[in-house]
């Protein structure tokens, strides 16, 4: 086995570490899930998976490792097409469905998936969630106890349940991405690690189960990821979409994301992730905010809201309407949403109202809404952004 791994990974130490990790995984999994049909193949494949994974994580500090990981992954993919045991692919998919089972608490699903599917250590997961290692360890232990005691099966759901269960899996990936992309609390604006893991998971799911919504979610994540470096200023402050330097957008990610969004749309069996991906793709094709096809964006939001009613989508639609038909048109819509009380505690709803009031010269109202948003905001860079806007408005109406 070690020889096979050395051949596959081209490095003795790496192979040894990989085999070690694979044995550890086997000790944990086999007693619970049973010994796989072909243990040797399982160990080799799991080891290779961990090794590529580890390289990807280290690649943040060393670009050559990223190239190597890519090459190894391509090679692994080629092998799969050839003669690799399909049971291993099933195994990975089963693990995803078990870790993302809707009977588990949602934060445990994320932790368990990062641990069991992505191969992160408890310490790494704890850092990603700003939690202590013991909190995460306990979350994972409890989830595993429920898997055992309630007998959550280690299986890919049958066809009748598949779409509903896949939705739960995609939801976990989406939350993971968002947690990394727009941190809900704390000092940092983005946490690339979690988003990176979510994208990697998204790729894996698309590879194993190319469902249109899985493809749509991957498109959405890649297109948002493409803006990462433009989203934060050098001082760590938030830069909104219309003020971003679009030359910083990652063209390769945009090309891939757009291609995937088109592929998902062409299936005609798409859902909310694909539609959000399509909206991100429309933004991506414009060189400036003014050149954006706002009419098309509003149109996609209409379809999205019809299939998946959500006040947040309505808010985003209202902002797009403001860009398309003028601030006053958008403001009417935002005020209607706020009047319903749905988003009363959502800081961006108040910040959006403030922004439109500001553009319409209604400074007192703008000030009041920015102040309201500041009470509700939890994340430091967003707070600084709102404070900056409030300062720019001056202290009182002339």
């Amino acid at each position: 086995m070690l020889a096979t791994l050395i051949r596959l990974l081209g490095d003795f130490e790496r192979a040894e570490e990989a085999l070690h990790d694979a044995f550890l995984a086997a000790i944990q999994q086999w007693p619970i899930e049973g010994v796989p049909a072909s243990p040797r193949t399982w160990l080799v494949s799991t080891g290779r998976f961990f090794a590529i994974d580890a390289m990807r994580r280290r690649a943040r500090h060393d670009a050559s490792l990223a190239t190597l990981a890519d090459a190894l992954e391509r090679q692994a993919a080629a092998n799969r097409e050839g003669h690799e045991d399909p049971a291993i692919e099933d195994d990975r998919l089963r693990r995803i469905f078990t870790c993302c089972h809707p009977a588990l608490p949602v934060d445990a699903r994320m932790a368990l998936t990062l641990r069991e599917v992505c191969g992160l250590t408890t310490e790494e997961i704890a850092r990603a969630f700003f939690a202590s290692a013991s909190t995460i360890a306990q979350r994972i232990v409890r989830a595993k106890a429920k898997i055992r005691d309630a007998r959550i099966p280690y299986q890919v759901p049958q066809h009748a349940e598949l779409s509903e269960r896949l939705e739960a899996v995609l939801h976990v990936v989406y939350l993971m991405f968002n947690e990394g992309y727009s941190t809900t609390a704390g000092v940092q604006l983005t946490r690339a690690d979690l988003s990176g893991e979510a994208i990697r998971l998204g790729r894996l799911i698309v590879e194993l189960l190319p469902d249109p919504e899985a493809i749509g979610l991957l498109a959405l994540m890649l297109l948002h990821e493409s803006r990462r470096s433009a989203r934060t200023s050098e001082t760590g402050d938030l830069v909104l979409l219309d003020e971003q330097d679009r030359r910083l957008w990652d063209r390769a990610l945009i090309a891939e994301g757009t291609r995937l969004a088109q592929r998902a749309l062409a299936s005609r069996r798409f859902g909310p992730y694909t539609l959000q991906g399509a909206i991100a793709a429309v933004h991506a094709e414009a060189d400036t905010s003014d050149e954006t096809d706002w009419a098309q964006i509003v149109g996609i939001y209409d379809v999205l809201i019809r299939s998946d009613p959500s006040p947040v989508f309505e808010l985003n639609r209202a902002v797009a309407v403001a860009m398309w038909k003028g601030a006053a048109e958008g403001l009417v819509r935002i005020e209607a949403i706020l009047a319903r009380g749905d988003l009363a505690a959502y800081h961006w709803a108040h910040a959006s109202r403030a922004d439109l009031c500001r553009r319409l010269g209604r400074r007192d109202e703008a000030r009041a809404s920015y102040t309201r948003a500041l009470v509700l905001v939890k994340q430091e860079p967003e707070r600084r952004f709102l404070e900056r806007r409030l300062e720019e408005l001056g202290t009182s109406e002339s």
């Binding site: 089972h101 005691d149 309630a150 007998r151 959550i152």
Partner: protein, 119 residues
């Protein structure tokens, strides 16, 4: 493995039904019960009298106290149960989702401890 499906719904929902609606609803229950009997998943099942008939018993410091009503006041009340046999949680969830009250109330699915196996 056995799972207890606790049927929780608002008594008001049932009380507000017309005679025809109640009959149709009960009919669905009879169909469901005979279906899971036929498929071998059924172990037991009962419907409970309204929560107004409940009495809660406790012994504290060696002294028994009885109070009227359920042990917890909640919007949805325990109205009945099924004890089912299923191969895993997925199958139990599928069966529970077919209980007619799943559409208007909630079904809590709880695995039953197998003392024979844990020793």
């Amino acid at each position: 493995m056995k799972y207890l499906c606790l049927i929780c719904d608002e008594e008001k929902t049932i009380n507000d039904m017309s005679k025809a609606e109640t009959d149709a609803f009960m009919g669905e229950y009879f169909t469901f019960t005979s279906d899971i009997q036929a498929s071998g998943h059924y172990e037991a099942g009962e419907a409970l009298q309204p929560v107004a008939t409940a009495t809660t018993v406790r012994i504290r410091n060696g002294k028994m106290s009885t109070t009227d009503g359920p042990f917890a006041e909640t919007k949805e009340q325990l109205g009945g149960f099924y004890l089912i046999k299923a191969k895993d949680l997925n199958e139990a969830i599928q069966i529970a989702s077919r209980i007619p009250s799943a559409r208007c109330g909630s079904i809590e699915v709880r695995p039953v401890v197998d003392f024979g196996q844990s020793q």
